[in-house]
Amino acid sequence: MKYVDVLVAGAGPAGSQAALTVAQAGYSVALLEKRPEVGQPVRCAEGVSEKWLLKHTGVEKTWIDAEVKGAVLRSPDGNKAVMEYAEKGYILNRARFDRYLAWRAADSGAFLLTCAAVTKIDPCEEFFIVKTQHSTHQEIRATLLILADGIESRLAPQLGIPTVLKPHDIEFCLQYTLGGIAYDEGYVEMIGGNEIAPGGYAWIFPKGEKKANVGLGLLGGRSLPGLNAQFFLDRFVARRFPDASIIRTVAGAVSASEPLNKMCGEGFMIVGDAARLANPLTGAGIGNALESGTLAGQTAVRALAAGKRNKEFLEDYQHDLMKSVGHVSKKFYRIKEPFVKFSDTDINRMIQVASQIDPSRMTVAGLLEAAFKENKAVLSLIRKAFFS
């Protein structure tokens, strides 16, 4: 049986980042991916802010498809408001990005395995015995576990932490990568409206060479058989890009919930989408995943150095994470609730007000203030969330 200091389940951005951090500190780490190829199939709209890349990965041309400097926000009545980002954004090639991160971890000493789904975790006194579906490495013994098994998160429940999402706390998404289309180069576009994407929004993310990720998400409670994301996306694309080729179809689900209450236990930590870290309002998840992977990796290194694996020691990870990005997600969650109840009239009015704001001065807080101009209760919530 193979023995490692840390086993990471899932080689997405969070898992690979955790494995890299542990490997760089000189501890042994296995990085297990259940799929035959890291990064495929993609389940992402692929947008990320430059600040997260500068902090965690650097910027490599090979996995960047396009650069964006702002967002065009469009209301159901066709009005638009423009937001210039304070930091540049990138549209990634996630398949290449994920491969790069996994390989970087492996190159630093992590033991990367594909076709290696974790099926069962047996907690023992001082370690875990992890059963996998890999043909050779069917059992691996690990002192610490980092669970990075994504939105479907089936491993944390085995260790007593429930991760099931309520329908109103998840967005079900579908996206086509369209070819041969025209759009605003350098801007992402987001389109609101209950006829377009009930409880969510539609997006157009430029990928360069007349290609773009065009997709939408529906709030769980509003998706119905026959009136699912595909129905709404097909209708949106037929109206906006009737002649476009569909190069790729990407389905995905994004949590729109608060982060997990408990992200660690005896000997293990939960990172990325599995810890429900995506932004509950925007769905952005890559930055938080990278951050959580790094922090969990750092905590694992400290725990190994101290010879500790108890829950109290690993709670440092959750504490660090909530301080860095978790508290922002919690704030957005409180605003999401009133936001998803918006009627089309509300959205029209929000964009109308926002279109008067100087694009270089518009912020998410400013946009939300415009949105809830006439709702004093929510307005005070936003001010509390962003300014205190």
Binding site: P41, R43, K166, G252
Partner: protein
């Protein structure tokens, strides 16, 4: 009863797995399987699926989820 997954349509997003209150669904490498012993026909997954790949099982049809 339980549900049936149309593997020709499933894009393996895992959304149904995330909302299943019984842990009856599992995303394998590239497709979803159903544990019919755990499924209680709540139909949350039918509503979740972005591409309509989850269907109510027709009575009288023999099931073989691993192969399907």
């Amino acid at each position: 009863m339980a549900v049936r997954i149309d593997h020709g349509r499933c894009c393996s997003c895992g959304g149904c797995v995330a909302v299943c209150p019984r842990g009856a669904l599992e995303l394998k490498a590239l497709y979803v399987i159903v544990n019919e012993k755990l499924c209680n026909d709540c139909a949350l997954c039918l509503r979740a699926c972005p591409v309509g790949a989850i269907l109510p099982e027709a009575p009288g049809i023999r099931r073989n989820d691993e192969i399907r």
